[in-house]
Every structure is written in structure tokens, then in C-alpha cells.
């Protein structure tokens, strides 16, 4: 079973990298970009067979390591 974790900065936390990407897109002539937020995608290959249990375990992994919940939020997808 595979799981995909998306980690993003929380709303309201300034993302300097996203701002730089937005600026670079503007330089390339893409004038319609009002905002850019950059995050991470983490794919996990799990031995679990029960989707609900796997999701619960991945959420604990996010809380303990994969995300820093002081500044980041996460979503878990079981694929």
C-alpha cells in the first residue's frame, strides 16, 4: 500500500521561497500569478494492508517527524 503526504506551510506563514518563485515567474512574463506556496510531497511504501490503520499511522509519522506542526500543515492520501 502506498501513501502520499503533502506538507505545506500553514496559511499566514510567510514563504520566502514561494515569493522568490512568484517573482521569477513574473520576470518570465507570467503576469497572472497572484501567489506561490512551495511545499513537499513525500511518498511512502507501506507494508500495511488496512487503509484506515495505515492512514492513522502515517498521520502519527507526520506529527512526529514528516511535518513541523509549528509552521507546517499536512494531508495524507492513501493510494
Amino acid at each position: 500500500m502506498k501513501a502520499r503526504v503533502h506538507v505545506m506551510l500553514k496559511d499566514g506563514v510567510l514563504d520566502p521561497q514561494g515569493e522568490a518563485v512568484k517573482h521569477a515567474l513574473g520576470t518570465l512574463g507570467f503576469s497572472g500569478v497572484a501567489g506561490v506556496r512551495q511545499g513537499k510531497v513525500i511518498d511512502l511504501d507501506l507494508t500495511a494492508t488496512d487503509a484506515a490503520a495505515a492512514e492513522a499511522e502515517v498521520r502519527v509519522m507526520c506529527e512526529k517527524l514528516l511535518a513541523n506542526t509549528v509552521i507546517e500543515k499536512f494531508t495524507v492520501e492513501i493510494l
Binding site: 510567510l14 520566502p16 521561497q17 522568490a20 517527524l65 514528516l66 513541523n68 509549528v70 509552521i71
Partner: protein, 222 residues
């Protein structure tokens, strides 16, 4: 005073930190990230600068979950002293021993130069040798030193006098110009600038020695 200096894979200020502790008169033991316990009788744990575990995932994130970090957390919970510098500060926020987080510098550049800091509190073993408002000059060398915390945390840090140092000229976008913060028991300090790189005239200044001497002075009174 007995200081334990941790080495993670990718630490590069561990020796400098050990030399600074020794120059102030401390006995230093070096500990490895896989160690599960600190040697007996350690008063202060030094968490050095560098790029522990290659800054993978987030700066300090992997180091904060290493076996020695567990021993360091137990030491702090017993009321032991911990000093985290640069990557060490990032490790301490990742463990939760210190509030907030260190994000990418606002200017996105790695900054490596001496900066002037204002001592924001003298109420800690680390800063007792100075007066509030004293200006010290330590080098900074970081890419992710942009201190960030939610408004409630910032208000609490201020109300409890737990901001240890502020930048005179903010180099990295840190909220409220914060360069270093203390734990609620005032025995854990994390800061981005490097006092251990300012302990010998050959390094261009000796302001950092004030912190190590102050810490030793506080230990002598225990």
C-alpha cells in the same frame, strides 16, 4: 563544570564549541549521535552548528530524533543546561525544547558575517555576565535563521523575558529581530549567531567568551 558536546553526521562546529568550553575552564566530553545516554555528571549539553544529516527534510529535524537527542531532552527535563548554536538552535526547536521555528532567510541567501547583537536579558546563566542592552559581536553563518513563531508564542516570550539576544540590524527576517531564545526554566538557550567563533583574538573578537565564562560562573554557584 562538565560539558558534553554532541557530534551529528554533518556537524562542523563541534570542535570549536569544545575548544570554547575548554578555554573557559570546563571539562569537555564529546558524545556521538548514536549514544543513548550522556556521561555521568554532565552539567551542560552543547548542540553545535553545522548541517546535521545534510539538512535533509528540515534543518535539525533528523538530529532532533536521534538517540542522543532523547538523552539531551531527558537532561533538560531534569533541569540540566543546554546550549544550541545555529544548527543546534534548529535542533532544539525541532525537539520542542524551545518554541518557534527557523525558516529560510527572508533574502534567501546564506549569510556569513559578523553581526551586532543586543543582550535582551541578563536573567540566565548564559547572559548573566552582561547587562541588558550590552552590544556583542558574534559571527553568523546560516541559510535558515529566520525565527518564526505564532503571535501568542511571541507575546509569551516577551512577557516572560525569554528573548536572550536581538539583532541590531536584522539580517534574516527574524520576527522581532530575535537571534536567541530561552526555555521557560531559562536553562536551555538556542541562538543562531556563533559565540564559539568569537573566543580568541585570532577569530577577530572575543565577545563570545562572555557566555562561556558566565555559564561557568553560574555553575560554580550551584
Amino acid at each position: 563544570m562538565k560539558a558534553a558536546v554532541i557530534t551529528f553526521p554533518g556537524s562542523n562546529c563541534d570542535r570549536d564549541l569544545a575548544v570554547a568550553f575548554e578555554a573557559a575552564g570546563a571539562e569537555v566530553v564529546r558524545v556521538w549521535h548514536k549514544d543513548t545516554d550522556l556521561p555521568a555528571g554532565v552539567d551542560v549539553v552543547g548542540v553545535p552548528g553545522g548541517f546535521s544529516f545534510g539538512d535533509y527534510l528540515r534543518c535539525g529535524a533528523i538530529a532532533a530524533r536521534s538517540p542522543i537527542a532523547g538523552a539531551m531532552i531527558r537532561h533538560a527535563e531534569r533541569g540540566g543546561y543546554v546550549l544550541g548554536i545555529c544548527n543546534g538552535f534548529q535542533v532544539l526547536t525541532e525537539t520542542g525544547l524551545l518554541p518557534g521555528a527557523l525558516m529560510r532567510n527572508a533574502g534567501l541567501k546564506f549569510i556569513c558575517r559578523p553581526v551586532e547583537l543586543s543582550v535582551a536579558t541578563a536573567d540566565s546563566a548564559f547572559t548573566a555576565g552582561w547587562a541588558v542592552g550590552d552590544v556583542v559581536r558574534f559571527p553568523i553563518a546560516h541559510h535558515d535563521g529566520n525565527y518564526t513563531a505564532d503571535p501568542d508564542t511571541l507575546a509569551r516570550l516577551r512577557a516572560e523575558d525569554r528573548v536572550a539576544f536581538t539583532y541590531l540590524e536584522n539580517p534574516n527576517g527574524s520576527m522581532a529581530d530575535i537571534a536567541g531564545v530561552l526555555s521557560d526554566n531559562r536553562r536551555v538557550l538556542g541562538l543562531m549567531p556563533h559565540p564559539e567563533r568569537a573566543v580568541d583574538p585570532a577569530q577577530g573578537g572575543t565577545d563570545g567568551m562572555g557566555m562561556f565564562r558566565s555559564l561557568l560562573g553560574a555553575m560554580a554557584l550551584v
